[in-house]
């Protein structure tokens, strides 16, 4: 049986090892390369991308949609599992919140990379027009960033107080920082009451805001006439897709963190089993909306729709479409339906596949539609009939992904990835108890 001291020792943040430093440097290097590519794009304009007048949005947008989708994990695991009193969430929520913050911050940055005139960013506020879905995004993304940060921060306050004490001798500087962040937490009944209430309000608030975020993201597409986007199914389709992407990311990160920080005692097979069930539920829901999205237009097969669907089912985008659907969605469902498939290692592989599949899925949603406008594509260079990202686009996009991983890495380094106080409470441990047994 663990006592409070060993618990804190287990869960307190640890210094970077050799491997962590190499990993961080690697990410920083990728980010620097991306920044250089972005500066070049700023100077030369977006002609350095392979986007043109027909494929007018590319991986910057699909990558943005991916980040937005992944950020949904915070609302789901934390808020929904909390409101439904699923106790098994405890060791998982902190990581979910961290992923959420990293993803939504990066979503905000990514959308600016797509803007051809970032120097006129303020126009979005000065000349804002309420009827544009982009303006809705301008409102909802900062709101979600703020709520996600609060949802990460509030439950951390008691842990900061514990860490302040823990690091007092080992690392006074770090202890001071934790002390400041703990806002003089003493654990008194009054403080606890305020904290519980605040967390509850945020947890309730993040659900509608999270749903709105995904919905607005879907509306960016479905408010146009374009075949493949003009769908009333789009918002729930995006919401369920966000569940898949988010939980997939959560599973992958949790596996790595657990292995790296040796948290097998706290994050057990039981947790992976539960997460696996949640992921399979998400995948099944997403499959359902996929069937709606593709099968009904295929059934009525209006001319434009069938041209679009042909390129997906049998045409140029068929390999990608079927990989994303079969490997990224159907295989995970089959694997996760078996108990053996919900063990940590297979779950990790499934999680990674789901995340990669989710990323490419957004590409399949954004690009093919743009290449089938209502009027035929004529009078433009042959290369404008296709789209595949340029080197600049890849370097910048990979850098944004690296930046998200860097944010996660740094937060995992300095924050207790498993809530200490709550775990202690659940295990029935407390500081006083130790004192009692000691004395």
């Amino acid at each position: 049986m663990k006592n409070f001291k060993t618990l804190v020792k287990d869960l307190a943040p640890k210094k970077f090892g050799k491997f962590d430093i190499i990993w961080t440097c690697f990410l920083v290097l990728i980010i620097i390369i991306g920044i250089v590519a972005y500066i070049d794009q700023l100077i030369k304009g977006q002609e350095v991308t392979n986007m043109r007048d027909y494929a007018l949005w590319g991986i910057y947008i699909s990558n943005f949609v991916f980040f937005v989708a992944t950020s949904f994990v915070g609302s789901v695991t934390v808020a929904i599992l909390r409101l439904t009193n699923n106790e098994w969430r405890t060791p998982l929520v902190r990581i979910a919140e961290i992923i959420s913050v990293a993803a939504i911050v990066m979503a905000g940055i990514t959308i600016m990379i797509d803007m051809a005139r970032p120097d006129r960013l303020l126009n979005l506020f000065i000349h804002a027009r309420l009827q544009s879905p982009i303006t809705w995004d301008v409102f909802i993304i900062p709101t979600y960033i703020l709520i996600s940060l609060l949802l990460l921060y509030f439950p951390l306050i008691p842990d900061f107080a514990i860490l302040k004490k823990y690091f007092k001798k080992k690392d006074p500087k770090l202890s001071k920082w934790y002390g400041k962040l703990s806002l003089n937490w003493t654990g008194s009944i009054a403080q606890k009451a305020i904290q519980t209430k605040s967390i509850r309000i945020i947890a309730i608030m993040i659900i509608p805001v999270g749903l709105l975020l995904q919905t607005i993201d879907a509306w960016l597409f479905s408010t146009t006439y374009r075949i493949g986007w003009d769908s009333t199914n789009f918002a729930p389709y995006f919401i369920s897709g966000a569940l898949v992407a988010g939980i997939g990311a959560l599973v992958s990160v949790i596996y790595v963190v657990r292995k790296h920080k040796k948290l097998e005692y706290y994050i057990t097979d039981f947790h992976f089993d539960k997460l696996g069930k949640l992921l399979v539920l998400a995948c099944l829901t997403y499959l359902y909306f996929n069937i709606n999205e593709y099968l009904i237009p295929a059934f009525t097969s209006k001319k434009g729709e069938s041209i679009h669907l042909d390129t997906l089912f049998t045409g140029a985008y068929a390999p990608l479409f079927w990989s994303v659907t079969i490997i990224g969605l159907i295989f995970p469902i089959i694997i996760l339906l078996f108990k053996k498939g919900r063990k940590p290692l297979p779950m990790f592989i499934v999680g990674l596949v789901v995340v990669v599949g989710s990323w490419w899925k957004r590409f399949v949603i954004v690009t093919p539609t743009l290449l089938h406008p209502f009027l035929p594509i004529q009078g433009v260079p042959e290369s404008w009939h296709h789209y595949f990202p340029s080197l600049h686009e890849w370097l910048i996009t990979v850098a944004t992904l690296a930046m998200a991983l860097l944010i996660i890495t740094l937060l995992v380094r300095y924050l207790p990835v498993i809530p200490i106080q709550r775990t202690a409470d659940e295990l029935g441990l407390s500081e006083n108890k130790i004192k009692n047994t000691e004395s």
Binding site: K44, G45, Q46, E47, V48, T49, M51, R52, D53, Y54, L56, W57, D114, M115, A116, R117, R120, L121, N123, L124, I126, H127, A128, R129, Q131, S132, P133, I134, T135, V138, L220, T223, T224, Y225, R226, L370, P373, F374, L375, P376, I377, Q378, G379, V380, P381, E382, W384
Partner: protein, 324 residues
């Protein structure tokens, strides 16, 4: 010590402020005085002038007070650029029966809007609805929709709809998000992906020109959207848009819906009569965009479709100037 230092600094600031205030007041006083003195010397002439006010009474004014006002010749052409020319509603009719893909419209448009990219604002599409139906040539401009999807989605009001029917772009406000391009079902919008380079390719001096929504491409700006503007800069001078005048076959009719007349330069006709006689229609009526451009179906054609194939280029719409 510390307190003393603080005090002395405050005193210094205080004095400085007072001194400054006195100088300012003094300065204003002196300048007022000199201006009064100057006025006295200049108004010494005793010539009186008789003038009539706007309500008809005669008054006498010292002739030195009378100044000549430059007469405003541009009087009725002044209007708010975002609101448009008052009491007008511009429309176009494109007669598909006459079009044989001569592409003069396109080259005139490219020339007068200084287009340097690879995608012309005006296209002449090679159309064929189905295997058994006849092929035809279909010129397209911006449809200047009355319910423009592009305007609805623009987050910054850079593209806007005017009362005279035009949909224009403020290139100095556009943020380059390209949402309007995604929203437009007619694929009419063109983006400046890089530096337009009009100075280099067209050998033009653009430094004196500030961009105006009323003359697209003059100059084009990097990272912003361009499109057909219906040539309000031509209309202002009582001239027809470039594509209308350039067309050798009289395909394009331009005019004012309120006046119910359109003209292709050779003949002027009643808009309503033309649309009724020739069964005019609009592109993608089902989308509800309410375009300002009408089409007359390609019936009783005066020209062979095949004649146009000679000029048809699938992958080019802007001729590149020859390298010299």
């Amino acid at each position: 010590m510390g307190k003393n230092k603080k005090n002395s600094r405050r005193k210094f600031l205080d004095n400085g402020l007072k001194l400054g205030l006195i100088t300012a007041i003094g300065g204003i006083g002196i300048s007022k005085l000199t201006s009064k003195l100057n006025a006295k010397t200049s108004s010494s002439s005793n010539d009186k002038m008789e003038l009539m006010t706007t309500d008809g009474t005669l008054i006498q004014v010292d002739s030195s007070e009378v100044m000549e006002v430059e007469h405003d010749t541009n009087h009725d052409k002044k209007y708010n650029i975002r609101e448009g020319m008052p009491n007008r509603k511009f429309v176009m009719v494109i007669d598909l029966a006459k079009c044989k893909n001569a592409l003069k419209c396109q080259s005139a448009c490219n020339k007068h809007h200084y287009i340097t990219g690879d995608n012309a604002w005006m296209k002449v599409y090679k159309m064929q609805e189905s295997k058994d139906s006849a092929p035809y040539w279909m010129p397209t401009t911006c449809m200047h929709c009355d319910k423009p999807a592009c305007v609805t989605v623009c987050p910054v009001d850079a593209t806007f709809k005017r009362k005279d029917g035009l949909v224009l772009i403020d290139n100095e406000r556009c943020i380059g998000c390209r949402f309007c391009m995604a929203a437009c079902p007619y694929s009419t919008r063109v983006f400046n992906w890089g530096e337009p380079g009009q100075e280099i390719t067209l050998n033009m001096d653009m430094t004196d020109h500030t961009p105006s929504p009323e003359h697209g491409g003059m100059p084009s700006l990097k990272g912003t959207v361009d499109k057909c503007d219906f040539c309000p800069h031509q209309v202002q001078n009582n001239e027809l848009p470039h594509c209308v005048t350039a067309c050798p076959n009289g395909v394009f009719y331009f005019g004012d819906k309120y006046e119910d007349t359109v003209t292709n330069g050779d003949e002027t006709v009643r808009l309503s009569q033309l649309l009724e006689d020739k069964a005019g229609y609009r592109l993608m009526e089902s989308l509800g965009t309410e375009p300002s451009v009408y089409y007359l179906p390609p019936t009783n054609r005066l020209v062979d479709f095949e004649d146009g194939l000679e000029f048809y280029k699938e992958f080019e719409s802007v001729e590149k100037p020859e390298q010299s």
